[in-house]
Amino acid sequence: MTEFTLPIAFGIFTGTFSRLLMLRTDYRQYPTYLHGKIIHVALGFIASGLGAVFGPAIIQEEFTAITFLTVAASQFREVRNMERNTLTELDNYELVTRGKTYIEGIAIAFESRNYLVILTALVSTLAYLLFNVWIGIIVAIASMILSHYLMSGGKLKEIVDIEYVEPRFDGAGLYVDNIYIMNIGLPERQKEVLRYGMGFILKPKSFNARATIANLGQRQAILHDVSTALGVYRDSGTPALVPLAKRDLDDGRVGVFVLPQDRDIEKAIKVIGDVPTLENAIRMSTEKVGMKNES
């Protein structure tokens, strides 16, 4: 046992613990129960190991140890690939697909969380070595809070107002408010759609939000989340019963048409509001020089 054993063990522990804190299985059911979790806890353990040995290496003046971190980087890029491939494969069998933008968002989250684990392990080992175990614990807690703050993204309700609107037919055309959704020919099918369908209007609060919800991936994410949380009245071989989100070209509002099994308006509005704004869909049009005052 050397002087570094305890600090390294401490770093590995805090790193793995912070990975556990960031690993939450919620309504999205991803990562899946148990096996999926074990994979990510194991990878978190490896990541914290890498982070924990960094401090002692620097103190021993083994500066080449920094190349270790490049190994970590390529290792966790691989994690991102793995997540992307798995989810893309599974997406073909979803009644309402997640969409590529959502999948990419999830994959990025998995990669970045491992880097946050490395950070936590690194700073807490270093604090233990330079000061004492108590400072180490304080630093570990602080970096876990920081990780928690960094890993949670924005929600849709922060950028749009959501309003329930009864869908209606004008001839064969299905409308949510004044937004045209699709053409459904059969009267029988139309009755079904009116009975189970619900319409929502998302009104962007700013010019940036307008561009964000225009993104097709963001709209697919809304449809997927609503269908996951509230069920979906749909099966293979009924392509007419498809949730859709279309845009009003005039003012950028988005009309969302869904077919939930649980027709609770309050719940549905809450679910839509809690849909994450996807990192890859966020647009900052007003950041362009000279556009600031036009929103």
């Binding site: 053409n183 059969l186 029988e188 099918r189 071989g237 392509p239």
Partner: protein, 61 residues
């Protein structure tokens, strides 16, 4: 091969509306047209769109 936006069948009660080009189904009444359309929709895995009262198309999306 994946078809996208392709008319799989046309169902009509008015022979003058459609010439040829794809599967065309002539029906005698609106009821018959609707039942044929419902069946074809399920068989072809497409969506039945109404163009007018006497003309439906089934489209693969």
């Amino acid at each position: 091969m994946n078809l996208e936006k392709y008319i799989l069948a046309v169902i009509t009660t008015n022979k003058n509306k459609v010439a040829a080009g794809t599967g065309v189904f002539y029906c005698d009444s609106k009821q018959e047209m609707e039942s044929v359309t419902a069946n074809l929709e399920a068989i072809l895995d497409g969506i039945a769109h109404g163009l007018s009262d006497e003309l439906y198309v089934i489209v693969k999306h």
